[in-house]
């Protein structure tokens, strides 16, 4: 027992030690290559994928210019928050192959602890987001330690069990609920801050995935025994993956807390884990950007639903509230059954073929 704990401690120490130098080296390389990179940027903008990304970003940035869009902006803000959550789930499942059905707990605990810190210590909301995310990291480590011995379905149900228990505990702690507005920023400013958070989080995850660390993650996903045999300490790298994923889920949770300006058991709803899964599945597993796009599609469809049905009242109102999840559950089943690459990936490929045709390549 003691030796086991010691082993685990040493693994933690090593993983933390190795994590920061690799990040440092990464940033050094990026700074060294800067002129080269700038040269490349010109070339890159005119490729298909980055062109599409930049087009989407321009639409997002220009959106607040249109008049009377306050309501739609708030929906886009939710979509951005959940884009981070879905991307963090996709990072863990699509790239490291560790299935988690309990991402709502990172999402919830970060928001909860952030709100408690704001109320009791009076720190700014910006700092509380990061402190909350650090709390989420510790929860992730706490859960990953027993669960990393597990594989596939056991890991999935184990994480889900943790999330449900946390939800049940919070359900009865009604006196811990906090409702106050954490920030007095203008909503357009909030919109741009959220967009910054989303872009930075997604880019960091994409950089990690494309770095050497990402290659190691993919090797663990594809064949763990083989990765073990080639000298990769899989436990260490799985822990790192859990740290990264829970950190970004925590960031999303903190942003959500600030956005809805209250925390309660509702932040822990198991439904949020399901949202993350749906969004990632729409975009296709193993594409960070796909998860983000999936989030936007999800919220747009939800909005269409409530526009269509909420006005008619009665039973239709129930359909407006719960219908989207019902339809998406069915949709997720269909996607898994018939299109295991997701919807976005093939669609983008078709679009790219068309683009190439038009450019005459």
């Amino acid at each position: 027992m003691l030796t086991k704990i010691r082993q685990l401690l040493s693994i933690y120490k090593k993983s933390i030690k190795n994590f920061f130098p690799s990040l440092k080296a990464g940033t050094k390389n990026i700074i060294k290559d800067l002129p080269n990179q700038l040269n490349n940027v010109k070339m890159r903008i005119f490729t298909f994928k980055s062109g599409l990304t930049i087009l989407c970003l321009i639409i997002l940035i220009l959106f607040p210019i249109f008049p009377e869009t306050e309501y739609y902006i708030s929906i886009l803000m939710y979509a951005m928050i959940f884009a981070i959550l879905a991307a963090s789930w996709d990072f863990l499942v699509g790239f490291v192959g560790q299935i988690s059905f309990g991402h709502a707990m990172f999402f919830g605990i970060s928001g909860y602890s952030g709100a408690l810190l704001i109320q009791n210590l009076g720190i700014s909301w910006f700092a509380s987001i990061f402190l909350g995310a650090i709390v989420a990291i510790f929860l992730g480590l706490f859960i990953a330690t027993p669960c990393l011995r597990l594989k596939g379905p056991y890991l999935a149900l184990g994480t889900q069990a943790f999330a449900l228990i946390l939800f049940n505990l919070m359900l009865s702690q009604k006196e811990l609920n906090i409702t106050q507005s954490f920030t007095d920023l203008d909503y357009i400013l909030q919109y741009f801050i959220l967009m910054g958070f989303m872009i930075i989080s997604l880019s960091i995850m994409l950089i990690i995935v494309k770095s050497k660390l990402g290659t190691i993650f993919k090797s663990i996903r594809d064949d763990q025994i083989c990765a073990d045999a080639s000298g990769i300490n899989t436990t260490k790298y799985k822990l790192i993956a859990f740290i990264i994923s829970s950190f970004f889920a925590g960031i999303a949770g903190g942003l959500y807390m600030v956005k809805i300006s209250s925390v309660s058991y509702g932040n822990f709803l198991p439904l949020y884990s399901f949202y993350a899964i749906i969004m990632a599945a729409i975009g296709g597993l193993g594409t960070i950007t796909g998860a983000a796009v999936g989030s936007f599609i999800f919220f747009i469809i939800q909005e269409i639903f409530s526009e269509l049905f909420s006005a008619s009242g009665g039973q239709m109102e129930a359909f407006a509230n719960y219908g989207p999840v019902l339809v998406f559950a069915l949709f997720l089943i269909l996607v898994i059954r018939f299109a295991d690459q997701g919807i976005m990936k093939p669609a983008v490929e078709r679009l790219k073929e068309l683009f190439d045709l038009l450019m005459g390549r």
């Binding site: 499942v93 299935i99 059905f101 027993p146 011995r149 056991y154 129930a318 069915l330 059954r337 295991d340």
Partner: protein
């Protein structure tokens, strides 16, 4: 009544109500464990099946105003159809991908949860399923014990014994064990493995339906009830060992007694956290469970 009498009476009621919980959980966990042991399918919609039978039974009696016998028959037909559809449409085509099955059954559970909120004759409230076993509470050593709980215990024991005999003696049961041991070898002996897995899932559905009739009638129904039962089943199966019938029953009674003990002497809060503590400890120190044989990697 002095202190010793009080403690003795408390312990006896822990025994009685713990037995009820153990009986219910053994019915639920048995099906869950059987499906995993035979087909290698972790059915996350197991709680959803329970939800579906409970709601069907409730609607039959309250909304469609059928007799009790008619309601039981309708519920059985519905759950068998659900099981067959689940197998044919989801599990059979996705057998080769573990993630696929997990995500599909997870989505199915959410589908059930949302469906009962959306259907026109249903809503998002908590309801009580009418009690089908009437009778005054019997008094056992100074404790009022509802009659239907007695039927729960007796019925659960009978059902578990029937399942055990079926698995160990009947020809179909032997085929089930053969597929669980070695699927390819069983197929070479002329056993239709897919059919056997479907039969196992139907058995698990029937067990869930019996839980509804024996215990669920008289309890409350609400849309998110399935998850708690799924996690309990998972904790029991981890405790007892995946795919082992005696292990599931043993695990169910251990968890039933300890949950009741906790809620009597420590607090109901702790009873909710209890399964997670068991899961964590078992997974860290003995991942194959108390009576399990399969090694968990």
């Amino acid at each position: 009544m002095n202190v010793i009498d009080q403690v003795a009476s408390d312990l006896f009621s822990v025994f009685l109500f713990g037995s009820v919980q153990g009986a219910v959980f053994s019915l639920l966990a048995l099906g869950f464990s059987l499906v995993y042991g035979v087909g290698g399918v972790m059915n996350l919609a197991h709680g959803g099946f329970y939800l579906a039978t409970m709601y069907t039974f409730y609607w039959c009696i309250k909304v469609w105003e059928q007799t009790i016998l008619m309601s039981i028959i309708i519920t059985l037909i519905v759950i068998v159809i659900i099981c067959i559809l689940t197998f044919v449409l989801l599990i059979k085509p996705l057998q080769h991908t573990e993630i696929g099955i997990l995500m599909a059954t997870f989505a199915l559970a959410f589908f059930f949860e949302q469906l009962v909120k959306v259907l026109p004759w249903s809503d998002n409230q908590t309801h009580w399923v009418p009690n089908i076993i009437k009778g005054n509470p019997i008094e056992l050593f100074g404790i009022n014990f509802p009659v239907r709980y007695l039927w729960t215990i007796i019925g659960a024991i009978i059902v578990v014994v029937i399942i055990y005999i079926f698995i160990s003696k009947a020809k179909l049961g032997k085929s089930i064990r053969a597929v669980a041991q070695d699927r390819e070898a069983a197929q070479l002996m002329g056993i239709n493995a897919n059919l056997i897995i479907m039969v196992t899932i139907i058995i698990s559905g029937l067990l869930v339906a019996f839980t509804t009739f024996l215990y669920g009638a008289g309890e409350e129904v609400y849309p998110s009830m399935g998850w708690g039962f799924l996690i309990q089943s998972f904790a029991i199966v981890v405790l007892g060992g995946m795919g082992s019938i005696p292990g599931s029953v043993l695990g169910a009674f251990i968890i039933g007694y300890s949950r009741t003990f906790c809620s009597y002497f420590i607090g109901t809060q702790f009873a909710e956290i209890f399964p997670i503590i068991i899961i964590v400890f078992m997974l860290v120190f003995r991942p194959q469970g108390l009576l399990g044989k399969k090694e968990v990697e």
